[in-house]
Symmetry: C2
Subunit: 319 residues, 2 copies
DNA sequence: TCAAAAGTGTTATCCTTACACCCATGT
DNA sequence: ACATGGGTGTAAGGATAACACTTTTGA
């Protein structure tokens, strides 16, 4: 049952990559054009799979080898089209890698991801003034709803997604999309103005609304961060971003950087140890300041040993 | 940065849907062509989004309205191409719905999903002979590896994915792909024979290897089942498949049908109740046999009230 | 000697698991 | 009366969250 081909002539396939690395403990993403774009390129049909196509393209474009990769999402909204009006289907990927320093100096193009989402960093507690400003704009938008049910719904979404008391670090995408819908980020204005050309509320300045990106690349970035934050809890993904040897303090700092939240030291250590994720190398380092710390390495075997956790369902009969 | 268009001319976008419903308590999937195909069709570029395109197509093709839908995965392997050699990019979706009975008689096209994956049904305990047969074929394949490391890896994958003692119901896709790699399902033979035309081990008969599908539709189905099984544990997705009112016994049977495993009655009830997912309607039914059961309904508010679970990380400082 | 980070011990609480039993209906 | 599914109580064990404290280095 091959589909009719008539309908799909005007489609372009684009691959996007959210390439993540930890640089000096801070989460960074690989960008082009001074931070305005994610690495992206066409799917060349001589590649056997999408992933190999992506790898080739990104490595050529950024001179940076990719490590672990997984597919994120495929977007094809009408708002996306290239100059000639061809519909763009963009297939996005998340890639984890270690920072690649070539010839002694740092490659350009790495951006701290919290520059795009300043409200997502709660490592030092909530940024009160920033959050208050966002909530003000969002509540104003909610109250401007055309009818009562819409208004209730908007208010509910705002209070849940941005609730400081029970902050959920996984809702990166929802929060960005809410700001987008509310017209508080510049990307929304560009889109709406182009199509409906109706005047729109002023977006927040970058200091509050974060740095913008072109097209929907910031949405893709939000998708990638959300996926990483969610998955870090039940899959050993952090290790893809760590050097071979590390201290438990460094490991905790890495998770904190990704999740954007401070963690409880002792309980974090117990968790790691109890899951059997790491083993001591025998060596120690004094580089972290204070008392020298034991070095650990990731136990790669674990990926095969256990099909990882699972159940959560109250099964009957113990085999 | 619009990509060069040269490379992508020979691409066709296809949408696939895994449409799931519970019929008489058994999980079914909507198919065409006597069970050999999933509903699928072209992405017509006059649709604003992929989802609306999918909905329109499926509803026209099957006369069945879709409920909740989510994107599954985008495939574009070289092995997939249409008659004229154009590359096919297939974007697949999972859709949940209630059975739709029109004019008193059942629509055709619904297939019990365990016909495609008989080894995935552990509701009545493991199917020993079936599993033994699969393991025999898989171990044979592992031992036929070209070198020692490959052999070790294959053996490990086989023992983990098909281990009866610690069965993980989420590994639907991994298990199917292992059988595919081992040449035990007919789909693998079709593909390999077409390209490499080298003789291949005989596939298992349908009674063991399950019913085959055309193209890679069975892989897409496996992806859908795996997603549903994984997500059912932390998102209230079952309710999309239930009638408005139901008993706790029916709810448990539904989860068991999807997960393919028997659950512990009391603990299941406690879990549901403690999560505040349902509320009593006040009515009871005697249709289930035995003592009449209370009827419950899903508390839709919960979707908004809680951003659902989350943490799992050992956070510091209680706000 | 003091700041900084590493590392240890312990307790209360909650959730999960497992057991054993009673209840209300139809046949 | 008895089979069938509905519904309840409760105790043991493990994981989590929250305490406070000691150790070893560099400056």
């Amino acid at each position: 049952m091959p589909p009719a081909t008539e309908h799909v002539r005007n489609v372009t396939i684009e691959l996007n990559a959210v390439v993540v690395a930890l640089i000096d403990g801070a989460p960074h993403v690989l960008t082009l054009d001074d931070g305005a774009l994610l690495p992206s390129g066409p799917f060349e049909s001589d590649h056997p799979t999408l992933q190999t196509g992506l790898r080739a393209w990104v490595e050529r474009q950024t001179r940076h080898p990719l490590g672990y990769t997984e597919q994120l999402y495929t977007f094809a909204d009408r708002s996306r089209a290239d100059a000639s009006g061809r519909r763009i289907v963009s297939i996005s990927y998340l890639a984890l890698t270690r920072e690649h320093v070539e010839a002694g100096r740092r490659e350009p193009g790495w951006q701290d991801w919290y520059r795009y989402f300043p409200w997502e960093d709660w490592r030092a507690g909530g940024a009160e003034p920033l959050l208050r400003a966002l909530l003000k704009g969002l509540r104003h938008w909610a109250d401007a709803a055309p009818d009562a049910p819409t208004k209730r719904l908007r208010r509910q979404r705002v209070e849940i997604d941005f609730d400081a008391e029970s902050w959920n670090e996984d809702l990166v995408l929802q929060r960005y999309e809410l700001l987008y819908e509310a017209g508080l980020v510049p990307e929304a204005i560009a889109t709406r103005a182009g199509r409906a050309r109706r005047p729109i509320t002023h977006a927040l300045p970058p200091s509050l609304g974060g740095m913008a990106m072109r097209h929907d690349h910031r949405r893709i970035l939000a998708t990638g961060i959300a996926r990483l934050r969610a998955k870090i809890k039940y899959r050993p993904m952090v290790f893809e971003l760590m050097p071979p040897d590390f201290t438990l303090g460094q490991l905790q700092a890495a998770v904190e950087a990704l999740a954007g939240r401070p963690l409880h030291k002792q309980n974090f250590r117990r968790l790691i140890e109890q899951q059997g994720l790491v083993e001591e190398t025998g060596a120690t380092t004094a580089e972290t300041g204070g008392r020298p710390a034991k070095l650990y390495r990731f136990r790669r075997e674990i990926l095969l040993e256990r099909a990882v956790a699972g159940s959560k369902l109250p099964l009957a009969r113990p085999a």
